[in-house]
Symmetry: C2
Subunit: 336 residues, 2 copies
């Protein structure tokens, strides 16, 4: 594991942001919470589901992640007055998610909307709002990961208090430094990845545990949406039960090796895939630079840092394919 | 919707099979059930998850589906003495699932194993066993779908009684006739599909609701495992949040249009994909032949019948690619 001498700067969350989180938590504290639902679409759903992973592992409250329209049409029977529904949409305008918050409220659930736009329809409809800054030059603690993980770990601490969660929330104030250090360290690797794989029409991703969300995002939003490269996010545990039969010397895999409880699943998949494919790229989360982060908190940071690091790999592909990540052929261009 | 004059023959489940289901249900009746876990790998996991769909929709008991190794390594905090863990493995030898049943028992959960082999390690380790017949010429009511759906709907009826579930269990005795009629009606379509798509190196699948499990199975087990064709099972609701950008005139999609609550999601995805791809094949579950099945029970039967009908499409690909579904390069041939 790489160690750093670089300074980790701790930044406090903006007061109005901290208050939003506290307001939501105070309301949740008054409920007899029987279920927690994470509801969003695409990359926002994937981001929420990494929080769901830690909820499911650490507290004895049933939780589930749904894509917004499935949530509405399935209408889970456990949804009701004792439910918390956490929704997320970057713009706050995703129609299915706006519908979902209304649906959840009709069922009596307490709703918390997470978005970069407090004036959006999603936020207007929700009981509580958690805003995050986006590309405005402010510190990561006020950005999407800082706000979401602070909220989730304060929620965990409220549901089943543990000093570990408090340490995590404190150390999360160094997130911006950790992102900067890791993005810097991975930029050359991301570029080399783009150079090597620029001719590929299909790249599989693979991960497990909270990192499956990152594989899913990379597949759906970066490869398929932004780069028009075919893909499938394979769960490392499921790889051996079907998907591994497509493995061959010329089939590319981007493997996210997790840090934490799920790592043995990834190791087993990597041992196999590396034997039969000549095109395996590994992003090893255990090798990220965690600065002075406590050893037992690394798995939480790993799941956050995987996102900006993987973005660098997409940037590498964009650079060498000449296909900017901002190009779309359908999204934002027509009704659907 | 096609109507039939063909006779639906009702067959009673074998006495020893009915007793196995009753034994499991009697034990569950003595528990204060707080959570239900469905745990298996690959196609078995997908089959279980269609049951999970109906549990989540119809009764107020939290449920979740896990691939076996993720279940063990994540170790969900809600797993305990008030949990029911339903596991499935065709051979009953899947190592991760055998580990999972032991893990669940250590946590105090009541375990039910579903397998074609009662003497298998999975069944030996579980508290209760539900055996199904496989390719022995016996009626479908004693096969995997007949046994599993009888168990699930009797479980639903025990948790929250509803005469609908009783009607379903009774009409399920006509399953073999319905399978035969539908497989017969779809054989020519499956063959035409194989002929048309035999040159494709990649075929996406798409579905939602309980049918997502079928898309997942078709992608992982039939296309990737058995036919070595690249694929990804896209959720119809998620299609618009990333994956749809890979759509083009020459990108093939196999769309499973569901019967039931999730159909509007599929319709929206179909309306879009059919506009931009010239290679869209639709398997419309609403057009299956349901014989004299009650209208309100069709969505349950649809999810069962989708499996043998989709198999016919894989048979078509196998026939025209000259790649038998039984061929493997890794599975059963080496340690992994």
């Amino acid at each position: 594991m790489v160690q750093t001498n670089q300074e980790i700067k701790l930044t406090s969350m903006k007061k109005e942001h901290a208050e939003q989180i506290d307001n939501a938590l105070n309301a949740i504290a008054k409920k007899d919470v029987q279920s927690i639902f994470f509801v969003a679409c695409g990359g926002s759903m994937a981001s929420l589901s990494s929080g769901d992973y830690f909820v499911s592992r650490e507290v004895a409250v049933p939780s589930a992640t749904y894509t917004s329209n499935e949530f509405i049409h399935r209408s889970p029977k456990t949804l009701g007055e004792n439910s918390i529904v956490i929704l997320r949409s970057h713009s706050g305008t995703t129609p299915e998610t706006v519908e979902a918050v209304k649906f959840a409220k009709e069922k009596g659930a307490l709703t918390v909307a997470i978005s970069m736009d407090e004036e959006s329809p999603l936020c207007a409809a929700a009981d509580y709002v958690i805003h995050y800054n986006y590309k405005d030059g402010s510190d990561a603690i006020d950005g999407e990961a800082g706000m979401y993980y602070t909220f989730i770990f304060k929620l965990l601490n409220q549901l089943e208090p543990n000093e570990k969660y408090e340490r995590f929330v404190n150390q999360l104030q160094g997130l911006q430094s950790l992102i900067d250090i890791n993005v810097n360290e991975y930029t050359a690797k991301g570029d080399a990845f783009g150079k090597k794989y620029k001719r590929e029409k299909l790249i599989y991703t693979m991960a497990s545990g909270p990192y499956y969300a990152h594989a899913y995002s990379f597949t759906s939003c970066l490869l398929m949406e932004m780069l028009w490269i075919h893909s499938n996010a394979i769960h490392s545990g499921e790889y051996f039960h079907g998907p591994f039969e497509v493995t061959d010397y010329d089939v590319p895999f981007l493997m996210v090796m997790g840090e934490g409880a799920s790592r043995p699943l990834d190791q087993r998949a990597l041992d196999f895939v590396a034997k039969f494919s000549d095109k395996v790229e590994v992003v090893d989360v255990a090798e990220f630079n965690y600065g002075q982060t406590d050893e037992d908190l690394r798995e939480y940071f790993g799941s956050i840092l995987a996102s900006p690091v993987l973005r660098v790999y997409a940037d590498g592909l964009a650079e060498h394919t000449g296909h900017p990540l901002s190009v779309r052929r359908y999204m934002w261009k027509m009704e659907y």
